[in-house]
């Protein structure tokens, strides 16, 4: 096993401050860094010794032999235990769960995000199928801590097996129900979950608390239960490894991967890369970023995707349609450069609003505001190709005009979709409406 790297910045807030030094012995569950301001504790996920403490990471050399036991956190109130365990939002955002659950919902809603919207990822759904007991326990803890009156699981109806498991589990739960979602992207965006389950569209700057709710990822819920029941620090992550791997493109779901392990290690565990590849993406196809094999897994890493090679545009002029739902402009340019395209025009979806921190948020995720004008711009600027990073609905709109203008359309996720045999994001063929379960059960 190679050295493990624990990034000091792996969630929202300032980088953590290390509390170990080179040469220190650490055990599984040893606290190695504490937040400076907003943040969460970071724990070692293995037995070993600290190799070095760098500016942005702590490097730990693992022992040959690893035991299952870990150093437990202190007993305390449930909220204190969640905080001490360093639980953060595991869906990718990485907001400290202890802070999030500290809100008094006064009878409001815990919205359990089991949408797993990024195509190719399966670990959230697998968790429901395999570990509903602990998951449900976590939901109840969250309700109790935040004084919520109800909890709603948001899950796509296509996950029939998981939905069945859930229905059984909540059948006798008076205050817990299920809301089914269509299989379009994005449905798992925080405000999309609020809109779909509670019927309230929030402004990009508003938090779910504006709708008396907390949106919490289904894995985060599990980590909350583990912190309280097992006094387990948050040092492991459920993940999906998928793509151009030896043995095929079926997803490999790994539960409790130690945080700090390298992408390369995980890929090897899944069989290793099969020949020539395009990118290694950490995260999902839409919002993930290309990384190298030595990048370490953090508390928010959900997927590792090895893609096939990208097509070659031989320097053709390209228009980029940047959107809050897909990669940011830098990521779109990255994809375009890898395709040897020449960016001649950049447009941003009308609904993509820039937040104070520079990220984009969609005003109404998954509902298109029209893209014909953007296509006209691309055409005018001399583009031959369009690379879009849009949601299902907007991609459909782009397809309604771009091809008729002789613009050839690529989606930022095409190479991933081709790798995992998922339909490309082009025309929308499914309805945005799904029939709900009777009384959410």
């Amino acid at each position: 096993m190679e050295n493990l790297q624990f990034l000091l910045r792996q969630h929202v807030g300032a980088p953590c401050e290390p509390v170990v030094k080179a040469g220190d012995r650490v055990e599984k569950g040893t606290l190695i860094a504490v937040p400076a301001g907003l943040g969460a504790n970071i724990f070692s996920s293995i037995y070993g010794s600290v190799q070095s403490v760098l500016e942005d990471r702590i490097v730990i050399a693992p022992d040959e032999e690893q035991k299952e036991e870990f150093v437990p956190i202190h007993e305390g109130s449930w909220l204190e235990m969640v905080k001490e365990a360093g639980v953060v939002g595991m869906g990718g955002a990485g907001f400290p769960t202890g802070v999030k659950l500290g809100t008094d919902l006064k009878g409001g809603f815990i919205l359990v995000n089991a949408v797993e919207c990024e195509p190719g990822l399966y670990h959230n759904i697998r968790q429901i199928e395999d570990n509903i007991e602990m998951t449900l326990k976590g939901v109840k803890y969250c309700m109790e801590i935040s004084n919520a009156g109800k909890a709603i699981f948001a899950i796509k109806s296509k996950n029939e097996k998981a939905v069945e498991v859930l229905r059984k589990a909540v059948r006798d739960e008076e205050n817990i129900s299920i809301h089914l979602l269509p299989d379009i992207y994005p449905m798992g965006e925080e405000r999309a979950v609020v809109r779909e389950t509670l019927g309230k569209l929030l402004d990009p700057t508003q938090l779910p608390s504006a709708a008396d709710s907390i949106v919490i990822n289904v894995e985060t819920v599990l980590r909350v239960a583990e912190a309280i029941d097992f006094r387990k620090p948050c040092f492991s992550k459920n993940m999906t490894v998928v793509g151009k791997l030896k043995g095929g493109n079926e997803p490999h779901v790994y539960m409790d991967v130690p945080v700090g392990i390298s992408v390369g290690d995980l890929i090897e565990r899944a069989g290793g890369i099969d020949g020539v590849y395009g990118e290694i993406i950490m995260g999902g196809p839409f919002t993930g970023k290309a990384v190298g094999k030595d990048a370490p897994v953090t508390k928010t890493t959900g997927g590792i995707i090895v893609t096939i090679d990208l097509p070659d545009l031989h320097g053709a002029p390209v228009g980029l349609l940047v959107c809050a739902c897909g990669g940011d402009e830098a990521r779109m340019r990255d994809v375009c450069e890898k395709m040897h395209g020449n960016v001649v025009s950049v447009a941003r979806c009308k609904q993509a609003v820039e937040m104070k921190n520079g990220t984009l948020k969609c005003e109404n995720p998954g509902n298109c505001p029209g893209q014909a004008q953007k296509c006209l711009q691309f055409k005018k600027d001399g583009s031959e190709y369009v690379i879009m990073g849009n949601c299902s609905d907007c991609s459909n709109t782009v397809m309604g005009s771009a091809p008729k203008m002789n613009l050839k359309v690529f989606h930022q996720t095409d190479h991933v979709m081709r790798t995992i045999n998922h339909p490309l994001y082009r025309r929308l063929k499914v309805s945005k409406q799904v029939e709900q379960l009777p009384e959410g059960k």
Partner: protein, 617 residues
């Protein structure tokens, strides 16, 4: 892109088209609809067929009966509960209802904004009589606010000052020249102008960067002579006695002009975007305000400047200064003439102010990017060099001049992009918009602002903001913004419109645009535009002065500004350049004024040059 409820209201009668896929059963809202502003583009691209589409007003609130994709026009067969298209009748009914309590008094004509608007679409022999105190009719006064406005005393004052006032006068004495010869000294004898032999050497010696200077006397018989690119055409004129440019008396030679041409030592034309080298008779658009008139004699210098300096500021300036050495000697000779018997014609220009009339200002954007894009402002002699300040050195900031200063050669133009659209020195001498506005009894031309067009965008906005402030202080009712050339300078041209327009002042823009010079930027104030194009295909055809501001453009701009000041909206431009728009407008104006307007000829009236044949026509 989807529209807001307000936009939907503005476009209530435009076709309703889905901006995105919408599913069966939804209630149609503004956010489901595409912006009608892009329909023309969409129809052009073959993306949209509006056949049978209901209007936006009709479909709002109705139910979609079938899942439809983006850019699908909403027709009756996919919409349930659409409103009937009977809006106008309904409005009429409402208006016919008696308005209880509120008296239908004159207030109805005077809105809360205190504007009396009289719109006459078409008419003849219309007399409108209004009571003198009309301006003081107040709208229904909100309780507690005294609505009386300073009354009759003000009216009498206005009456008194409403008379025309002559601010200053400029006299032009014309001296006829029929022959230009070389001789031992520079002098004017009768109608013959002699230029001193050997003056060329002094011209060359006076400028470090000038390697050579040749003088050619081009008579009409020699028009089919090859020439290097024409840098400038200048009147030969001088002030009488102590008179200054813009007032007093100016003496000018008729029948002869100065023409500056040149290359660098490597033979590269001193021009940036195209150049007019070639046979003179094929490359000059005769009788344009800035160009030579057919029949005139040219004193043409062919200046050779140091290699590589053609694209730097000092090079072209040296060519102009060297040429001016000759002009200055002619001016001296002209000044010495004591006998008015040689004066063949005397013109008087009055700078008239017309208080009470709509006050307008002309903002002329002149090139100031550096290299040859420079203009010397206010020389001592008309179109001279001495005493003038290059606008580049002035930071291109706006400079106010009187209309008479413009007509008296206060601009010595070095500008060079491109031959067909640049305004040469002679252009200002005969500037049609200044002349038209000055002579129009319906407007009060308060002055002319020259503003340079700097190279860098930040500087463009810097000078443009100064223009805005200056125009604001003038309290004008309307403004013209003109520019020469096209492309880079359109950025500040647009910004001038914005700066003036945002102050609530109607503004009319004039530029060569057509096909090749289509505006690269725009803003919501650029609604009133006059295209100076004359070329057949709407291009910069490298024929000298072809697409510059002419009389026909000036009258269109004046008519447009008058309409704009009266609150009339100018129709949205057609999507593609259509020369017929100009034709129609000229005809309309001519019908109203009763004066026929003869359109200037274009390059098609000239012999076809090899260059034009190969590159353009």
């Amino acid at each position: 892109m989807s529209i807001t409820a307000e936009t939907a209201k503005e476009h209530a009668n435009d076709p309703a088209v889905l901006c995105c896929r919408a599913e069966e059963g939804i209630t149609i809202q503004a956010s489901n609809l595409e912006d009608p502003a892009i329909f023309d583009d969409l129809v052009d691209s073959g993306l949209l067929d509006l056949e049978g589409a209901l209007t936006i007003e009709q479909v709002l609130g109705a139910t979609l009966t079938k899942t439809c994709d983006s850019l699908c026009p909403l027709t009756a067969d996919v919409v349930e509960g659409a409103k009937a298209a009977a809006a106008p009748e309904k409005a009429a009914e409402e208006a016919a209802e008696p308005a209880p309590a509120v008296p239908a008094a004159p207030q109805a004509a005077v809105g809360p904004g205190q504007v009396l608007r009289i719109h006459i679409g078409e008419g003849k022999d219309i007399d409108i009589e209004l009571p003198v105190g009309l301006a003081n009719i107040s709208a229904p006064t909100p309780a507690g606010v005294p609505g009386v406005i300073p009354a009759l005393a003000a009216d009498t004052e206005v009456q008194e000052t409403n008379e025309e006032k002559i601010v200053r006068t400029l006299t032009r004495k014309h001296y006829k020249i029929t022959e230009v010869k070389r001789g031992p000294e520079t002098k004017i004898e009768g109608t013959t102008l002699y230029i001193r032999e050997g003056i060329e050497k002094e011209c060359v010696d006076s400028q470090e960067l000038v390697f050579d200077l040749k003088i050619d006397i081009i008579t009409p018989e020699d028009y089919h002579t090859y020439s290097e690119t024409i840098m400038d055409v200048q009147p030969i004129a001088c002030k009488e006695g102590e008179d200054e440019v813009g007032s007093g008396t100016t003496r000018v030679l008729d029948g002869v002009i100065m023409m500056v041409t040149g290359t660098d030592a490597n033979g590269v034309q001193i021009g940036e975007f195209g150049s007019s080298e070639g046979y003179l008779d094929e490359n000059i658009m005769w009788n344009r305000p800035g160009a030579p008139d057919k029949g005139e004699i040219f004193i043409k210098t062919q200046v050779t400047i140091k290699e590589g300096t053609n694209m730097e500021r000092p090079g072209p300036l040296a060519a102009h200064t060297a040429t001016d050495h000759i002009t200055q000697e002619i001016r001296e000779a002209l000044k010495e003439l004591e006998n008015d018997s040689l004066v063949v014609d005397t013109e008087t220009f009055d700078q008239v102010r017309r208080p009470g009339k709509k006050k307008v200002v002309i903002v002329k954007e002149i090139m100031g990017q550096g290299a040859m894009h420079d203009n010397l402002i206010l020389p001592v002699e008309p179109v001279g060099v001495l005493g003038a300040k290059p606008n580049v050195d002035l930071g291109n900031v706006p400079v106010c001049v009187s209309p008479l200063e413009v007509l008296d050669g206060c601009i010595h133009a070095l500008t060079c992009i491109g031959p067909a659209s640049k305004e040469m020195s002679r252009h200002y001498w005969r500037e049609p918009l200044v002349l038209e506005a000055l002579h129009d009894p319906e407007v009060d031309l308060c002055g002319v602002i020259f503003v340079g067009s700097p190279q860098i965008n930040s500087e463009k906005f810097y000078v443009s903001k100064r223009v805005g402030m200056m125009v604001e202080m003038m309290d004008v009712d309307g403004a013209f913004v003109t520019t020469e050339g096209f492309g880079n300078n359109h950025i500040d041209f647009a910004s001038h419109h914005e700066q003036i327009g945002m102050r609530g002042i109607p503004v009319v823009g004039m530029s060569f645009c057509a096909v090749q010079g289509a505006l690269v930027v725009g803003n919501k104030y650029m609604t009133n535009m006059v295209d100076n194009n004359k070329s057949e295909s709407g291009i910069e055809n490298e024929v000298l002065a072809c697409n510059t501001l002419c009389h026909e453009d000036a009258i269109r701009a004046l008519a447009m500004l008058k309409n704009a000041m009266a609150g009339e909206e100018v129709k949205t431009a057609e999507r593609k350049w259509n020369p017929n728009v100009k034709g129609t407008n000229v005809e309309l104006i001519s019908n109203v004024t009763g004066k026929p307007i003869e359109l200037a000829k274009n390059e098609q009236s000239l012999p076809m040059s090899q260059k034009r044949k190969e590159k353009y026509d």
